[in-house]
Symmetry: C2
DNA sequence: TATGTAAAAATGAATGTTCATTCACTTTTT
DNA sequence: AAAAAGTGAATGAACATTCATTTTTACATA
């Protein structure tokens, strides 16, 4: 137990350090030596947990993505109405982006650059299925516009990434009021009038 | 003339090579040697045109951003109604993202990572003023929802980046029909009912 | 409970490579 | 023929990864 526990701690520390360094400096300025130092570990130790740098970043991505989707769907179940379900998922995602912005920023960077493998990217997308199912339900009931899931995603979930980045970088405050306004915009963009 | 002409060609070739390599491999895998080779130039020549790698990327970003905003506002003038003006700008931006996706992808990557200086980022934002002015006009006339410009941007312009990426990466086709649907979603999300 | 020891985990210091940048020199332009 | 532009090869630093060694752990035995 002690041994296993210690190992998981080191692994977590490495993943945390990776996220922090990639967020602040970018992949190109996140050397293994710095990651090791930030995780209080020898550079050589990283290779006990991960094959190489690419593997470290891929695994970090998948892990963060899993945490994200788990959080997103925690309050959702398919007994909810389409509108209730959508609001539940959307607000959880908004919540995640606000409260866990370190992780959210890392995902945003991975999703917009070629730093992770295509395979790992695909792996990360899988977990989104419940939302796609909900949208299909909404479309078949005539509640949600009959348009591509890509567009639905682009106009509801994706804007949250932009708003989170704006919050982190500029003077914009992604607070309760703005979240509520953003939710209205999201829903207005996809609902059938 | 001959001399100046030649210089501009080299500079353009360097910028083009930078965009292509950063798009395909990411900043971390776009070495100066490859950029030089792709531009048919000696590595040393890059330093006649740019201070260093950071400067090359910053300048590339600013140049591409300028091209982008120039294209975006080419058909706009403030005599248009709010709705006409918005549609004009939005569709030009959509057009740019479709037709010049190399440049658009480069901007998306820069806007979501720390590869360019904060100063250069600010520089790039300046040119967006006409759109912000249009939005203020729309808000004061009660045509556009009275919400932060960040949210307006997040729900109208930013989704286009996501859709373009989806088009480049997955099977999604950002064609005329989808553009039209996306425009409706964009307008529905910000207009007052 | 204390002790010895083999396996596992961890390490700091190499290693070899890649890279950004510079330099001494050549070619082109004026 | 002086100045400007361009070059390929050199330079030194930074990096990912490996290696030889040390430390820690697990646990059998007394």
């Amino acid at each position: 137990m002690a041994k296993l526990q210690k190992s998981i701690d080191k692994r977590n520390a490495l993943i945390k350090a990776t996220i922090e360094l990639v967020n602040n400096n970018g992949f190109h300025a996140a050397p293994m030596s710095k990651i090791a130092k930030m995780a209080n570990v020898s550079p050589a130790t990283i290779y006990l947990y991960f094959e190489n740098k690419q593997d470290l970043v891929n695994k970090t991505y998948i892990e963060v993505k899993a945490k994200y989707t788990q959080y997103a769907f925690a309050t959702y179940n398919d007994r909810l109405t389409v509108e209730e379900g959508f609001e539940a998922i959307w607000k959880r995602i908004a919540d995640f982006k606000c409260k866990d912005s370190e992780n959210a920023m890392f995902l945003a960077q991975c999703d917009n650059t070629p730093i992770i493998d295509e395979t790992s990217r695909q792996e990360g997308i899988k977990h989104l299925q419940p939302l796609l199912d909900l949208w299909e339900r909404g479309k078949s009931k005539g509640i949600i516009k009959p348009i591509s899931n890509y567009i639905l995603y682009a106009y509801t979930i994706n804007p949250l990434s932009f708003l989170m980045m704006a919050d982190k970088r500029n003077g914009f405050q992604l607070d309760k009021t703005h979240i509520e306004m953003a939710y209205q915009a999201a829903w207005d963009s996809i609902r059938v009038n």
